[in-house]
Each structure stands twice: as C-alpha cells, then as structure tokens.
C-alpha cells in the first residue's frame, strides 16, 4: 500500500529525472551550436589577416574615385530607368500570375484540395530559385537585355508573392465567405466578394514591397547581362574606373531611397 504522500514524492522524483534529461538535452544543443559555428567559420574562409591587408587598398581606390565622373549621367539615368521598369513589369506579371495560384495554394478555399500540395511545391520551387539564377537561364534562352531580367524577376516573385497571398487568404476570417456562399453564390464569386475586400489592401502593400525589393535586386541582374544599371556597374568594376563606379552607386542609392519613401508613403495610405 502506498500512501498519497508517497505517490506525490514518486511523481516529484519522476519529474526530477525528466529534468536531468532536459538538462542533458540543453548541453547537447549548446555543443551542436558550437560545432555548427566552428565548421561554418572554416567553410566561410574567414581570414582577418586578408582584411587587414585589403582595407587600405580599398581606401586608396576610394581616394582616386573623387571627383565622381558625371559625363555619362544621362546614360546612367536611362539604365536606372530600365532597372525600375524591369522591376515594375516583372512584379506586375508575377502578381497577376500569383492571384490564381494563391487560391489553389490556400488550404481553406481551394476548389481542388488534391492540387493543394502540388501547388505549394511548385511555388516553393519558384521561390527557391533566385531571380538572378532565372535571369542567367533566360539570358541564354532569349539573349542579353532587360527582357531576360523581367522574366527572371517575374518567375521568382510569382512563387514568393503567391505564397504570401495564400497565407493571407488562409488567415482571413472565413465567416463572411461562408455567409456569401450560403446566399447561393459560386466559390469564385464568394472569394472575390467576401475575401478580396479584406485582403486586397495587404496584397497591394505586398506588391509594392516586391516592386521595391525587385528594384534593389535587379541592380545586380545586369551583372549577368540581363539589362539595367548593373551592366554599367560591372563594366566600371572590370576597368577599375572608380570615379564612374561611385557615380553609379550614388545614382542607385538616390533612386532606391526615393522609391522606398514613395512606396512607404503609398503603403501607409493603403493601411
């Protein structure tokens, strides 16, 4: 016969054993983290000596960069406009493609639940491949120029935006959707009537974010020959023409900052 007190003591002892188990697990996690960083440090080739040697070199280059070379400013403006346009067309295309995919990839409202997982896999694949990589492929397929960049941006953003849209739809309150369905409306009608008004502002805001993000991302697309200001950036670097390089970077900074401000202002208006 065990008394109540004894049972309580046994429960405490059992909990204690559990606690030591937990402590062991904590140690294991710490050790794993430490090992992870040690291996990463080696793999990343961290070498502080190289940095010490390289920094003064960078400083000398920067010194030669002054005064900036402003002769080609009109060309840079054109190239930057190209970059902004690439991002705008690519993002818009991506969002138009993302809307139907978001409905398919939304567990709660998809008309074909069987396609839910394939749709998510497809979007994850698009999301997993950077627009830079897509652009590389399209430069080979459609040739050098901004069009390849547009396609690269569109594909990557399609996956990312559709996943975000699907998440918004999944977290939307389904009451109004069910209510509108119950009036005899079809599924698509109910989605457009009951869910879209609620998620449209956040979707628009996401779209602006992606445009802004793609402008920044596509400054480097030129490096693989996919048009825009990045191409001039790479040319200057290859020729070690630092006055030109500084001008280009300054132009990029000005445009990206202005766009950030503009889209931020617009998003605040939408909220």
């Amino acid at each position: 016969m065990t008394s109540g007190a004894e049972q309580a003591l046994r429960r405490m002892e059992a909990a204690d054993r559990g606690f030591t188990g937990r402590r062991l697990r904590l140690w294991l996690i710490c050790a794993t983290l430490l090992a992870f960083y040690a291996v990463s440090w080696r793999l990343a080739g961290i070498d502080l000596h190289k940095l010490a040697v390289g920094l003064p070199k960078l400083g000398r280059w920067l010194a030669t960069a002054w005064p900036p070379d402003l002769h080609e400013l009109p060309l840079f403006a054109r190239r930057t406009a190209e970059t902004v346009a690439m991002a705008a067309i690519g993002t818009t295309l991506a969002v138009l493609l993302a809307l139907p995919m978001a409905i398919l990839a939304c567990r709660t409202i998809t008309p074909w639940p069987a396609l839910y997982h394939p749709a998510r896999w497809f979007l994850n694949a698009l999301r997993g491949i950077d627009s830079f990589v897509f652009a590389l492929l399209f430069v080979a397929a459609v040739g050098l120029g901004p069009f390849a960049g547009v396609l690269g941006i569109a594909l990557h953003t399609w996956g990312s935006a559709a996943k975000q849209f699907a998440d918004y739809l999944e977290s939307a309150h389904l009451g109004p959707f069910e209510a509108v369905r119950a009036t005899g409306a079809g599924r698509l009608t109910a989605i457009l009537y009951a869910l879209m008004p609620d998620v449209a502002p956040v979707m628009l805001s996401t779209t602006l974010f992606w445009w802004e993000f793609n402008v920044r991302a596509s400054t480097v697309l030129g490096v693989v020959g996919a048009g825009g200001i990045g191409q001039e950036l790479k040319n200057s670097m290859d020729l070690l023409d630092f006055p030109r390089l500084v001008t280009i970077i300054a132009v990029i900074l000005v445009v990206v900052t202005a766009l950030d401000q503009f889209s931020g202002w617009l998003r605040r208006r939408l909220a």
Partner: protein
C-alpha cells in the same frame, strides 16, 4: 421558388422543411441522433438546449453546410443533403443564414453586404465586379429600410455597432428572398434590449412574408416571447417540441436537466 410565399400566418399544411431522423457523429461521439421536426411557412421556431446539445451541428445540417451521416433534410419533399450542382444551389438560395458573429464583409458598405444576398440570383460577373442591376440595388435598399438602417447604406460594415451589423445581416438574408431563414444564436453577441429588437424583427419577417424562421437561442424567456414553437435539443436529441405558450417550467426542467 424565388418569391416568398404570401403571408398566411400559421399555415399548418405541407411543411417547408422537414428534418427526418438526422444523425451525425464526430470521432465516434454522436452529436445528433435521430433528430426530427418540421418548419412551416410563417412560423418562428426557437431551438433551445444546453451548450453542446448539437444546436450548431443541426444548423449546419439544415443549411447544407454539413452532410448528416444518417437521415435527410427535405425541402418541398426534395432531399437537400443529396442534391448536387445547380439543383443544390437553387435549394441553397431559398435558405438564408444569419450568424452569431454576423459574418459581414467588414470593408464593404452595408449596401454591398446586403447585395451579397442577390449573388445566388445574378450572373457571376455581377458579383465579380460588384455591379448590380438597378432593381437589385432598389431591393437591397428596401431591405435595409426594413431593418431600419437605410441611413447607414453607404457606411462601412465594420463601423456599425453589433446590433446594427446583425440587422444588416438580416437585410442580406431578406435580399436573398428566401423561403426559410436559419439563424444560429443571432442574439448571443448582443445586449438584451438589442437582442429583443432583433428577435422582433425576425418574427415580423416570419409573419408578414410567410418565411419560416428557425432560430437557436439560449434564453428561455426570449424564446417564449418571440417564438411560435419551441424545439428543445439535449444530447443530440429532440426532447421537447411544443407551442411556445405551452413551454412551461416543467418543460424547461426536462430540457436542461437531461444528463
């Protein structure tokens, strides 16, 4: 099928809707067992019962949102639970729903929300573009007027008070021109005075439009004041089915003391 029946008070002829032995189980636990009752045109039936009695499951079955495991729901003699496609949609639009949480689209105006009631009657593109005919807009405004909210037509639904939102939801149900209104705990989120107003409104609709109204409630006195008939649900079964006037303390005790 569209137009409501003429006002005919307590017509006890062929029932509008008949639940025939509905049974439904979740994970082996019976939520509903052999539920049978009828709803006639022009009457307001209150469904009472303790929490967990299966009221919400019953409403989902009656509304066609859930399919019962056993039994069926007949509307005009047709089995709604087995209907498919266009047939199912035609039957669905004859039944309007009112929810405890109103379920309005918050960012749309009161008028747009009421117009949603027309979606089962108009071509899909009208819903997609939110473009309704003049006749439908007029009907929707009349429905808003009926619930006393014509002045709020252009206001966003999420800016209205709870009682006003429930009235808009009732206007949406009216715009559907239903033969039957199912209201699941329509006043549970409202204060007592507002609740009584909403129930009066529902009873008026039943009387003048000849619409059958089924309304689940959890307050006996509200049910006794508003309903023509009271159906008591306990543990998934109908244990009381009486005219409201005969629903006395003994009946209430029977309903709420069932283990």
């Amino acid at each position: 099928m569209d137009a409501p029946l003429p006002a005919n008070g307590m017509d006890q002829g062929e029932p509008l809707m008949r639940a025939e032995g509905i049974g439904m189980a979740f994970h082996g636990h019976a939520a509903l067992a052999d539920v049978r009752f009828q709803i006639h045109a022009g009457e307001l039936v209150a469904v009472l019962g303790p929490s967990g009695a299966g009221k919400t499951t019953l409403f989902r079955c009656l509304a066609g949102l859930a399919r019962p495991d056993r039994g069926c729901v007949r509307v005009d003699g047709q089995d709604m639970t087995r209907a498919t496609g266009g047939n199912r949609r035609r039957m669905a639009r004859g039944i309007a729903l009112v929810f405890q949480q109103f379920n309005l689209v918050g960012r749309l105006t009161a008028l747009d929300n009421v117009l949603a009631g027309r979606l089962g009657h108009v071509p899909a593109w009208r819903g997609w573009l939110r473009r309704f005919s003049r006749a439908d807009r007029l009907l929707a405004l009349e429905c808003l007027d009926r619930v006393g909210l014509l002045a709020k037509a252009g206001q966003r639904a999420d800016s209205l008070s709870g009682g006003q939102q429930q009235r808009v939801a009732i206007a949406r149900a009216l715009a559907q021109r239903p033969r039957l209104i199912l209201a699941d705990e329509p006043v549970a989120s409202l204060d007592p005075a507002t609740a009584a107003g909403v129930l009066d409104l529902l009873r008026g609709i039943a009387r003048t439009d000849g619409v059958g109204v089924v309304c689940s409630l959890h307050q006996v006195d509200l049910a006794r004041a508003a309903a023509d008939r009271i159906v008591g649900l306990a543990d998934g079964r109908v244990v009381v089915d009486l005219p409201a006037a005969s629903f006395d303390t003994a009946a209430a005790a029977r309903l709420y003391s069932t283990p």
